[in-house]
Amino acid sequence: MPVRSLLRRFLWVGLTSFGAARWTNLHAAFVESRLISEDKFVRDLAISQTLPGPGFVNLTALCGMRLGGVRLAVAGLALVLLPGLLAIVAAMAYLSTDEAWVARFFHGILVGAVGVLTASFVRLSAVRVRARFDIFLTTAALVLVVARVPLFVVVVAIGALGAWRYRATPQGDP
């Protein structure tokens, strides 16, 4: 496929991606059109979700690497970021929260966004945190964050505890 066409797909992903499952837009753009195989995409998805950093950004870069090396990864990532970047810059330039209607609008946006984030937390917890020890780890991390324990300490402590608990289990299963 010509590079220009690939770049258009990255731009479309950037324009249409919202919410928690943004990776599905990458799946639609590159797997459903058979540019990347399902197996390779699933592998890259696992990497992007395992390592630190925004998973969607990481996965975009890995898709770009697969399709055209470092140059396409950089260009693809830039195009995925571009629509949101322009929208935010425009909002910052033209909307002042000193104006009452803008403040009301952003308050509503905040309520909606926190609602969507809460729903993601509830849905993922219900589906992916079922083992008792997983529930304990999630609760412990949440309590530590709320108790204002530094994030580094939370990540290291919970990470070490979980890694120790699951160290000898095949596939990491309990």
């Binding site: 630190p52 966004a113 289990t169």
Partner: protein, 172 residues
């Protein structure tokens, strides 16, 4: 904050952002609002809202945060220092993933990341949601938005922008 301090802060956040860019919201708010008093709670929440109302990665809220701290260079430094180190690390790891993913300790850490990242996201929900609980209509809006996101198969953008419109007309 100097540009170097911005880079150091956001690079640290990027390195700890297991589960995505929203998992570090609680820590960022503590750093910027409570410890350093660079911005108000409301300004922080508005930056988050702005990031969620626009398409693309959810971490674009870093731009208004960085801009508030250090103007255009601050915005660029915040975004790039958050994104680039994990990205480079990932590309390095990806080349050896088949070998690494067979190691027991990698599987054990991988198994731990889901509950850990969910706990961090829960912390972000607490940080952003608690200040909204004072007003009954806002609480109702929060419940409705959460329920809609759970029950209705629609884009989150519809819910976020719909809530924005309700705010605009003074319902929330």
């Amino acid at each position: 904050m100097s540009l170097l301090e911005i880079v150091a802060l956001f690079a640290r956040m990027g390195a700890l952002s297991f589960g995505g860019g929203l998992s570090v919201l609680a820590e960022l708010q503590r750093e910027l609002v409570e410890d350093r008093a660079i911005m108000s709670e409301r300004e922080f929440a508005t930056a988050f809202a702005l990031g969620q109302a626009t398409p693309g990665p959810g971490i674009l809220y870093l731009i208004p945060l960085g801009f508030r701290i250090g103007g255009v260079p601050g915005a660029a430094a915040a975004l790039l220092s958050f994104l680039v180190p994990p990205l480079l690390f990932q590309i390095l790891v990806a080349q050896r993933w088949e070998q690494l993913s067979r190691a027991g300790w990698v599987r054990a850490i991988n198994r731990t990341l889901v509950p850990l990242s969910l706990g961090l996201i829960g912390g972000s929900v607490h940080t952003l949601g608690t200040p909204l609980l004072g007003d009954p209509m806002t609480v109702l809006g929060l419940v409705l938005a959460t329920t809609a996101a759970l029950m209705v198969r629609t884009s989150p953008a519809v819910i976020v922008l719909g809530a924005g419109l309700l705010g605009l007309v003074g319902v929330l």
